[in-house]
Amino acid sequence: MKKGLAVLGTLVALALLLALPRFVSSYKLLTYTRFLLLALTAQGWNFIGGYTGYAAFGNVAYFGIGAYTTGLLMLGKWHVPFFPSLAAGALLAACVAVLLGLPILRLKGHYFAIATLGVAEALAQVADTWDSVTEGSTGIDLPIRSDGEFFYYTALGFVILGLFTTWAFARSKLGYGCVAIREDQDAARMLGVNTTLFKVAAYAISAVFAAVAGGITAYQNVHVTPGDFFRIDYTLQMIIATIIGGVGTVIGPVLGAAVYQLLSTYIWGKFIELHPTVLGLVIVFFIVFLPRGLMTVIGRRRKSGERPFKASDLLANVRAHRVT
């Protein structure tokens, strides 16, 4: 019953999103496209950060790789069409993620987080210095395509694909293995989970999502520079979106991205100069009061006998994690 309701809700939301470009201005459509692209990166982060429990802080590296690969293939002597370029970017990102993941996924906790941060930092500097390919800090210019609906529907298509992928992942051997790694890596290994393989796979999947979002963003923004496409803000946005929605859930990242984009756009309009302050407050609020995201408010399962979410649970969340 409850499950049917959830599926119905998702279908209604999808129908609304499909029909959306008919009702809003092209400027507003840009905001919605941005929401979808954020949702895509958040879905990707959810694989490694949510299901596998590794605090990856460098996923923007794959966003950048996707953007640059797509851009460079569409330009210059090759003139490859958009979708093959996008696929090439995703493939390259996956390869880089496997190569980097093999060593750095052996690290744990903070060390892993900072190693990924370092990787993103180093790649940004490579893009900035490697003038002969990336044109350095001037950046590259892609062919112009000013068709808002095309980008919107492309992003929407990938987000829906992402929902199915996440759903299938969560029910696959791979997904269960990753959750086992998150809960207790040594126990998982003892039960016969090939931890290295599973972690690298989850990391590579997350890289593919980031790269696809990066490629679409590059084509839409036309101009690609290291400063715009390797910004640590993107990594944070995808993490925050996932946390707002609920880590390790199928719909969480998309829901979180919607809430984040809504807040962000609204706050942008109201207090341009204090935007990061308000964003900081939102982060602090969610971490302290709702560390497991909005899905704990919405998706309490009846069958496991949990009562619906009450306001007093906000304080219970606080009490659970504090030291006296």
Binding site: G49, G53, A55, P103, I104, R106, L107, K108, G109, H110, Y111, A113, I114, A115, L117, G118, V119, E121, A122, Q125, V126, T129, L236, I239, I240, I243, V247, E273, L274, H275, P276, T277, L279, G280, L281, V282, I283, V284, I287, V288, P291, V318, A320, H321, R322, V323, T324
Partner: protein, 288 residues
């Protein structure tokens, strides 16, 4: 590279390592004792720099004299933040504290930007830019003074942790939370002191940096990264490790900076990642 040049690079690295040790000191303490990577550490450093800057600009206080005040302000702020916010999520998974301190850094940096504007500032005193020469090596007074202050604070903290009651309680809590609680240590108070001391040290580092390099509100992030790198290089656990880590970092940074300035950050991080993979406990740290 001539011998004189080499000597200058060496002296620069020594002078840099002192201040970097102070930059990383509070960060290492908080991480080692509370298992929190405080991403707002750099923002605390920047706050310290602004306190010194405004005291000098408005009241003409000598920057070295404003250090205690900067430490006191940051100590109080650190205490408040720990008590009010971090303590609420300290037992949550790592990502929670990581993001919480990041949110704080976003907030503090933006507020500084909002009130003090993003202009590049620096503290200039009559003795700025003066120094003496030893052979062909030049040593500026301010850098030497900063090294002195750093060493005093590093040694002071080492003594405090080793010889005072609170210091021992802090170390005991870092070793085993439950055992410390059983012996009557008030863990919440110890955590608050630890975080406050860490913030105070960041304030002192900021004061010193304001005299040495021009700064703006966004400088903090780089210092958080450096503090992290130093902790990884030296390993956590005691004050001596921080000094070793800072020395290694300073030498790599100065030598790479002299050869490949445009790639210095990439090279430094590459070394760091390789080191993390080979020796996750740090060069000086004991293996787990």
């Amino acid at each position: 590279m001539s011998l004189g040049e080499l000597g200058q690079i060496f002296v620069n690295a020594v002078l840099l390592s002192g201040i970097l040790a102070l930059v990383a000191l509070g960060f290492s303490l908080v991480w080692g004792i509370m298992n929190i990577v405080n991403l707002a550490h750099g923002a605390f450093i920047v706050l310290g720099a602004y306190i010194t800057f405004f005291l000098h600009e408005l009241l003409h206080v000598d920057p070295f004299l404003s250090i205690p005040l900067a430490m006191l302000v940051l100590f109080t702020l650190g205490w408040g933040i720990q008590r009010g916010l971090i303590n609420q999520v300290i037992k949550a998974p790592l990502l929670a504290t990581f993001l919480l301190t990041f949110g704080l850094e976003l907030l503090i940096v933006n507020l500084i930007n909002f009130f003090f504007k993003a202009d590049l500032r620096s503290v200039t005193t009559p003795y700025s830019g003066t120094g003496f020469t030893l052979g062909s090596v030049r040593i500026p007074y301010i850098r030497l003074g900063a090294l002195g202050v750093s060493l005093v604070l590093v040694a002071g903290l080492a003594w405090y942790l080793k010889s005072t009651r609170t210091g021992r309680a802090i170390r005991a809590t870092g070793m085993d939370l439950d055992a410390a609680r059983l012996t009557g240590v008030k863990v919440a108070a110890v955590y608050a002191s630890t975080f406050a001391i860490g913030a105070g040290m960041a304030g002192a580092a900021g004061s010193l940096l304001s005299m040495i390099v021009p700064f703006d509100p966004n400088l903090g992030g780089t210092y958080t990264q450096r503090a992290f790198a130093i902790c990884v290089l030296g390993g956590l656990g005691n004050v001596a490790n921080v000094v070793i880590g800072a020395a290694i970092y300073a030498f790599v940074d100065v030598f790479v900076g002299a050869r490949l300035p445009s790639l210095s950050r990439a090279v430094t991080f590459a070394i760091l990642v390789i080191l993390l993979i080979l020796r996750p406990q740090g060069i000086a740290g004991k293996s787990a």
